[in-house]
């Protein structure tokens, strides 16, 4: 299978989120900070996994990266240039960055054939007129379906979503994105609704697109095994912030944040960590805890390890700095800070 390609870490990132915040006002008038100062970046041809539980802000991050959500603060940069939210600007972004939504079954129009679903984007972005090889619309649709592993493509043209299996639906969605020849695909939980045996096929497809077409991928998931399978780098999110980031090997083999450690420890087949089942769920983003936002659930604080190291007061009272994008293995944790210095 394709090995990790040489990614130039010093180059201008292809897509970057800089100090991104997204706030929603709830019906009761509270301000929920779905994203609260996030830096992430992805290079050309790089596969970045954004992992976290429901409520961590990972889907909001993906939506903001593709301009579906405007940030309250901070900015999204495409090759170093801030995103324009005009219709033209967004169309330009989306011909280069495509999103594959979660829930393939719900994302396809049940009354549209496979051909129509894939051709829609081709028409919207006038791909036929711009095709360097002068291919017809049908040829472009067929090529995209074939690239997504649906062969022979012509046999699927007139099928409706209900006639397809879950894996085939997911491939049709990916084909719709591929038809536009994007340079980056944003995939939100691309395999979570699929059967175990099909999951590997879709992940292998993402790796193949990277090695054949140089396509980058940002994959949003709660599945750490998926990240281990395909990602070059990982950003772990908790309550609107990145709490740990680094290469996949660093983050998953030597996790340093207590939250990452807990997430990894409950993966059924992990045996190098004692299972730490955290109580409760991610708190309400309109009431972000003071100090370290993870402290109410932190096993290190509860066990007294933070107090022994003399950081317990910081954990509950001192906010942590926002982690920069890219580069080294970094962790937003008071305990880790004293342990590593």
């Amino acid at each position: 299978m394709s090995a990790q390609p040489a990614v130039d870490a010093g180059a201008t990132p292809f897509l970057e989120a800089r100090d991104l915040s997204v706030e929603f006002v709830t019906r009761s008038g509270d301000v929920a900070r779905a994203l609260d100062g996030v830096h992430v970046s992805v290079q050309r041809g790089e596969i970045l996994a954004v992992v976290g539980e429901s409520g961590s802000g990972k889907t909001t991050l993906a939506r903001t990266l593709i301009g579906l959500q405007r940030p309250s603060a901070g900015e999204v940069l495409l090759e170093g240039a801030p995103l324009s939210y005009s219709q033209k600007g967004l169309r330009g972004l989306r011909s280069r960055v495509q999103m594959v939504l979660q829930d393939a079954a719900g994302s396809l129009n049940p009354r549209q054939t496979v051909y129509e679903s894939v051709a829609e984007g081709i028409r919207l972005h006038r791909r036929v007129a711009r095709d360097p090889e002068n291919r017809s619309e049908a040829e472009l649709v067929a090529a995209a379906l074939a690239e997504a592993g649906l062969r022979p493509p012509e046999r699927l043209f007139l099928r409706y979503p209900h006639e397809l299996s879950g894996g085939q639906k997911q491939r049709v969605l990916i084909a719709g994105a591929l038809a536009l020849r994007p340079e980056l695909i944003l995939a939100d939980e691309p395999v979570s609704s699929l059967d175990a045996s099909i999951r590997g096929e879709i992940l292998a497809l993402l790796l193949k697109l990277r090695s054949d077409l140089g396509m980058g991928v940002v994959v949003v998931t709660h599945d750490l095994g998926l990240a281990w399978n395909i990602a070059d780098r990982i950003a772990v999110m908790y309550l609107g912030r990145v709490v740990e980031c680094g290469t996949t090997e660093e983050v998953l083999s030597r996790p340093r944040h207590p939250y990452t450690q807990a997430l990894l420890s409950v993966v059924p087949e992990i045996d190098f960590l004692e299972p730490v089942v955290l109580h409760g769920e991610i708190p309400d983003p309109s009431r972000i805890p003071a100090g370290c936002r993870f402290h109410p659930r932190c096993p290190q604080l509860a066990s007294g390890a933070a107090a022994t190291a003399g950081v317990a007061d910081d954990c509950v009272g001192t906010p942590l700095p926002v982690l920069p994008a890219g580069g080294d293995h970094r962790v937003a944790c008071h305990l880790d800070a004293v342990r590593t210095t």
Binding site: Q4, S165, S197, I198, A204, V266, H279, E281
Partner: protein
Amino acid sequence: MNGVDAVSAVLDLRDVTVTYRTAEGPLPAVRGVDLTVRPGEVVGLAGESGCGKSTLVGTVLRLQPASATVEGEVLVLGQDVQSISWGKLRALRWAGASIVFQGALHSLNPVQRIGAQIAEPIRLHEPELSRQAVDVRVEELLEQVGLAASRKRSYPHQLSGGQRQRVMIAMALACRPQLVVADEPTTALDVMVQAQILDLLKDLVRDLGVGLLIISHDLSVLADICDRVVVMYAGRIVESGRANEVFTDPLHPYTKALSGAFPRIGDPAARYAPAGLAGDPPDPRDLPPGCSFAPRCPLAVPECTVAEPPLVEVGPGRPVACIRVGES
């Protein structure tokens, strides 16, 4: 699995076959399944969409649609569910055996408080209980599944996915059944919430001594919680055995694919190498000749398409349906 005492088993499926009548002809969804769950035992049923596992769950409480024909015996607490009278069946549902259905979000009534939903089966089965006694029981159940008793006044939309799944489990336990069937209880949940729910199920089996049958397509989850695992493909059992052995040392090529689908994090061989299985499961109306798995099987040889391989014991309590297992 031979010589199981029918009375001691809370669930005993004997050569169960389920066939749906469809416009395109008969559709055999389950073909000759034997399965036993004893009190205090956790049995996992693994397989992908369309393998017949949810159909099998339906037969346990005679919930299969009218278009289905069930053959063989489905014994719950020794009673043949498919032939007993309506009255006996109603007594058995909830109080003898209960099902935690897939998709907690859609299984709860959105306009009824959860306390009332948990109370419903209790009131039906124990009409002599006073309102107060039912209320006390509802609060106990909520606490048993790790929710505050005050949650009984919440509506489903006010709960998170994990909390709703806990409510579903509380409902299943409401009438103190001896058998609980959980259909994909953790599929839509996050890893941490999944771990919480699995811990809860483990505790309940230990404390209450119920028999638990868990359905999942994730073999790693089943290996974590089950005593035994049964793997189904295209309506048949292809392998079963002790949960850990089936997961770490799968023998059937299909089980191998299922086990390999979830990588072991830290294993360098899995980096940039997701394991998959090409193709889709067969159409049950048009099964391939011989072994149903042969068209997708990396080990298939021409003999595989001659006859459906029988389940053969290759070790103690370890039946496998594959002619290539045991070849050296």
